[in-house]
Every structure is written in structure tokens, then in C-alpha cells.
Amino acid sequence: MSTLVIAEHDNAELKPATLAAVTAAGQLGGDVDILVAGQGCSAVGEAAAKVAGVAKVLVADDAMYANMVAEPMADLVVPLAQNYGAVMAVANTVGKNFMPRVAALLDVSQISEISGIEGPDRFVRPIYAGNAMATVQSSDAIKIITIRATGFEKAAADGGSAKVESVAAAGDPGLSSFVGEELSKSERPELTAAKTIISGGRGMQSGDNFPIIEAVADQLGAAVGASRAAVDAGFVPNDYQVGQTGKVVAPDLYIAVGISGAIQHLAGMKDSKVIVAINKDEEAPIFQVADYGLVADLFKAVPELEEELKKLPPA
């Protein structure tokens, strides 16, 4: 049975998390198709067609799908899902919103945020904020699955030559309309896509001190994140938050500055390849997961780190 992957995109670009979903879909066996639902999203459809391992790309181009609002999205996906053994989306705030609606309309139990696949009907998913891993078996005819993108390697963005078909828009359920959005603007990479992340915690003491972290981020081309404590204290906006209730990230390098390492935070970053902790409290739990620990006053160590990085010859 083939799998339909729902693309994550912004109508201009295909987001890299979709590539992880293609890999996950491939592990189920059978063909992998991609649905691009958006408005003026033909470039995304073309990019999806180039992804290695994709058989077919479906493009639904309509103003209703411009922001992938749940009600019209679900009505679009439900009839398409009948042709597939599984439908998969990335467990971001878009996928988490419309996928359970699709599942209920199909009378299916969704399998949320899987991080591994053990067979066509067996999936591994974190529960209790990642403090336990459950292996579940689904008996539903169509599997509705959201994936944790950090759990799967990304498929190659090039090398495929899938055919692109357009699909007609479904009716407008007339329940919801998009009013607007306030997206934080940043020159830096997005947290969920960044190869390097440097995050600040309560130890930063104030939002006014984040520029010392940003200076290091500029040296490394890194994204800037924060712990929930730093967000709750108002140092930085909500969307900086890495953790169980924020973003789940797995960069090559994660630098935690002034972060003690609450379970909440660890749940969001412990799959990073290399973790560095800078904290003056040598007992801080973050050191138990860090590959490299520096016990030091961050206000001294972070500027020193910036200086050392400046001295570093190009790799």
C-alpha cells in the first residue's frame, strides 16, 4: 500500500522536514506520493517532484489552502486518503492541527509524533515528554501518522522525477477564515532547520543579555533558542522555546547557555548530535547529557567563546 505525505511549505519553498517524512513513508514499503496544498504553490510542487523516492506529486492550489487551515485541509485530504494505506504529515503546528481532524473523519485512531517505524503497522513514539518510548500497533485500515522530523534522516532533495498532477479543491466548509499572522522576523536560520543552535536559559538574567549569545550565533551561522524558563521570564518571545511544549530540535551542535536542564527542556533537544553546556553550577543536570561541559560564569565564557571562534581558521 502506498503512502501520501502532506508537504510542509510556505507556498514558495518545500520545508526540509518534509524530506524526513518521505524517508519515514518509504519505510512503510510501497509508493510515496506527496500532496502540496497551498496557494500559488507550483514551485513547491516542482521541488517535491525532485525529491528522491517520490512517485507522484498532487498539487491542490486554491486560496482556501493558502495557510493550511484545518477545516478545509481535512476536507481535501479525507477523500484522497481513501487511495492510500497511510497518510503522513510532520508533527509541527500545521500537521498537529489538521491531521487528527482527518483521522476522526476517517474513523481512525491517529498515531502521533512517531520517532521510529518497526513495521507497516508498528510504530515507536515518545510518551510522558520523551521519558518513555511506547511501541504501538495499529489495526486501522488507513494509518494516520504524524512524525517527529528529528527521528528520520532527510531524503535527498534531488534525484527524483515524479509526475505532478493537480487535484481539484474540495468544497469550502465555511467554518474558519484566516485573519492574519505575526511571524517573528530573523536573519538567522529557523530553529527546526538549523545545523547549529545556541540557547539561553534563566542564567541569562535578562533579555538584554541575549546579544552575547547572538554574537556567537553570528560566528557559527546558528539559530538562537531559549528554555521555557527564559521565555516565561519574558527574556525572549515564545517561538524561541525549545522543549516539550516548544520546538523539538536535533541539530549537529546544540549549545546550552545558563540552562539547568529541566526534563521539559531535555525532551526538546536531547537528540542533538553534539551537546555543549555552559553553566556555573557544576551540579546542573544539563551536564549529564552534554558531550562537552564548561563550568564557568557565562558572562565571561560566552564572550571568550566568541573571541575563540573569531580566531578559528576556516574549516
Binding site: 500545521v94 473523519l105 485512531s109 467554518l175 492574519g180 557559527l220
Partner: protein, 249 residues
Amino acid sequence: MKVLVAVKRVVDYNVKIRVKADQTGVDLLNVKMSMNPFDEIAIEEALRMKEAGLVDEVVAISVGVQQCQETIRTALAMGADRGILVKTDEDLEPLHIAKIMKAVVDEEQPGLVILGKQAIDDDCNQTGQMLAALLGWAQGTFASEIKLGDGSASVTREVDGGLQTLDLKLPMIVTTDLRLNEPRYASLPNIMKAKKKPIDEKTPEDLGVDTAPRLTTLKVQDPPTRQAGVIVEDAAELVSKLRNEAGVI
């Protein structure tokens, strides 16, 4: 308008959970249980609507074992007017809970249903969206602000890149995110008063809901652990290790 609020009994968020040695699940014996934190926010939001004169009645519903009555009592002590316990000893999936809640919504006819965005035990994040689907209602998930209007409501949602605002038709479903409000503590007089508030008991069978499982948990294991690494002396040594040993800069 009546508001229905879902409350789930879960392991308290401060408890460090233990996986059972036989890998059948998480040890719940003698563990402190509390209301799911996102559901406290849901109750609080409903109470604030009532205090603002936008809502007449707040009804708290829980589905689960007999002890879920304690979770409903907590909601009543915070200020909810009455409770509904749908009693079952089975471990239900979000789809089942959504079907049970749909049956209750059909009976109660609320204008708004508020749920937590996810429960901190199974981390599913499904029930609100599923209930909206089954009712054919709009859904305002991960809400950080709700402005009730005439026939519709404006809901601001926490999305990955920032905030998104939708205009949604009433009746509708809202699921709460952390920053919607700060839930109140129940005062002692209100805890006493809550003991007299009514809780109606039903079963999934009464509501005609089939709860046959779709998912089987095969095993529950500890997550892979990370080994602590090395402590470096200073920034210079750190940069050298990251370049030469880890190869990540």
C-alpha cells in the same frame, strides 16, 4: 451560553515517571495524580468568560476511572458549576474520548467546548481536533487568546513561526496553549462548596459509543540515555574539541 470543559486525570507534572520492569507501561501505583495542566488553563478560561458575563454555565467532563471524580471536584472547586463523569476502566484512545464527548455535546448543546491541547501522559494532541471533526465544528487549537463575538470568535494561535489569528464560527472547539492564562488556585471555602455541586455519572454504553481499541501498546521502554561527556577547562579548549574531535564547527 454553556461551556463544556474536558479535564483529564494524569500523573502530576512534577513526578518523575518510572517504566515498569515488564515493559507493559508506566508505573501508576502510589503516584500523585493531578489535573492535566492544559486542562486547568481550559477551566480557567471558561471561568473568566463566565465572570465577564459571556457564559452562563461551566460544565466539567472527565472520562475514565472512578477517581476522575477527584479531577472533576478540582474543576468544581475552581468554580465550574457541575460535572459529568463518563466512567470506564478501559484505557481509551483520543478517538473514543472524542466520540463520547460528541454524545455528551449532543445532549448538553454547549456553545463552546474547551480542552487542553494535549495531555502530558500520552502526548497525543488529538481529542479537540477529533471532536471538532465529529461535530462538524470549527477548531481553534493551541489558543493563546480567545475573543468571543456574535456568532463567531477570534482565536489567536501559537504556531511555529509566531502567532496566527483565525475567525471561527460558533459553536466551536478551542484547545488551550500554555500562555492563554494563569489558572487560579481553589480557595478552601470553594473546595468545601464544590463538595455539594452535582456530578452526573454515565458510561460509554449509556452514550452508545463503541470503545473497541484500534491501537495496541506492545511495549513501553526507557528512552535511550546519553552518556555524560567531558568537562573542558575554557572556551579555547571547547572550540578546539568542537573543531578537531567532534568536527561540528
